[in-house]
Assembly symmetry: C2
Amino acid sequence: MTTPGFHDPVHDHERCLAEALQEAEQLCRDRGAQLTPVRRRVLELVWSEHRPQGAYELLEQLQAERGRVAPPTVYRALDFLLAQGLIHRIESLNAFVGCPRPSHVHNGQFFICEACGATAELSDPGLAERIDRSAAALGFAVNQRIVEVRGHCPDCSIQGSPNP
Amino acid sequence: MTTPGFHDPVHDHERCLAEALQEAEQLCRDRGAQLTPVRRRVLELVWSEHRPQGAYELLEQLQAERGRVAPPTVYRALDFLLAQGLIHRIESLNAFVGCPRPSHVHNGQFFICEACGATAELSDPGLAERIDRSAAALGFAVNQRIVEVRGHCPDCSIQGSPNP
DNA sequence: TTTGATACGTTATAGTATAACAATCAATCG
DNA sequence: CGATTGATTGTTATACTATAACGTATCAAA
Ligand SMILES: [Zn+2]
Ligand SMILES: [Zn+2]
Ligand SMILES: [Zn+2]
Ligand SMILES: [Zn+2]
């Protein structure tokens, strides 16, 4: 399993990727969901960085290796991966990032570095509870909690400039 | 001041709007910021509903009353209103909603009805603290906290269908 | 009067996402 | 076997969201 938090810039990312792919395959087998070549490849591309990537960014990479690929192809693959919980959509970036814990249904919290793009996902149940309590006070029925925290990761935080 | 939470569908909305506009004028006077006719009108349009509205939705209304208006006009007005804290951007909708407490700098939490669009803004300092604690544990420096809760408002919640 | 700052107008274009319909393929059934 | 069905992908066109770049108008300070 991928460790939570930000990764060392020089970590063994081959392993991140391999583990994510292996877990995705297992999970799809168990569910009878079809992780087709296109979907699998898009997942690999999403996982190629610890940074949310836009649909058209992924599209370009697909086109580089397969010739003509149209937007619906990548959007469909992304829809599938979202439905399976294998990736998350980062609303404030219109971009997508791999989920390190896809077998567990959750709404994570995303910490997004505005300098390097690196994004860490946490899942703090207490935070979800707190949101749900506010919702209950409003008589609001929660479907989804979107929490995206913008700022600077440890590598990009500079002493003396708290919010550059 | 606008009361927190969801509004009764038949509340006195003229008053919501009038109060928001008056507070905006006061606040801009105090800051030496120019609430020009275009900006003021866009703010009125945003406040015409307790539901986030898209830039092009606002643009259409401007065009209906002023003839040719181009997208930059409305985006510039929105940028100004955002900078002054008079409106908030809802990332998951690409839309904008009036802030009921513009004189107080904050990152609110938005509860968004997926049925009728109605959106309530809360500002729970404890929630922000909790996010900041997670951030601190990651060594992450927070600039902005985006919290958008999707679900159903009291008027649209139906007994027996928790997450329709 | 010149200058600089601010806001707004105008045109074009970039970036994100989906609708609609055709083609393919594998599994199933009469 | 041939037909039917459902899931996936291909293809084309279009809708929706946002900004770049440059020109104009206004006003106040120098
Ligand atoms: Zn990694
Ligand atoms: Zn109202
Ligand atoms: Zn607010
Ligand atoms: Zn509702």
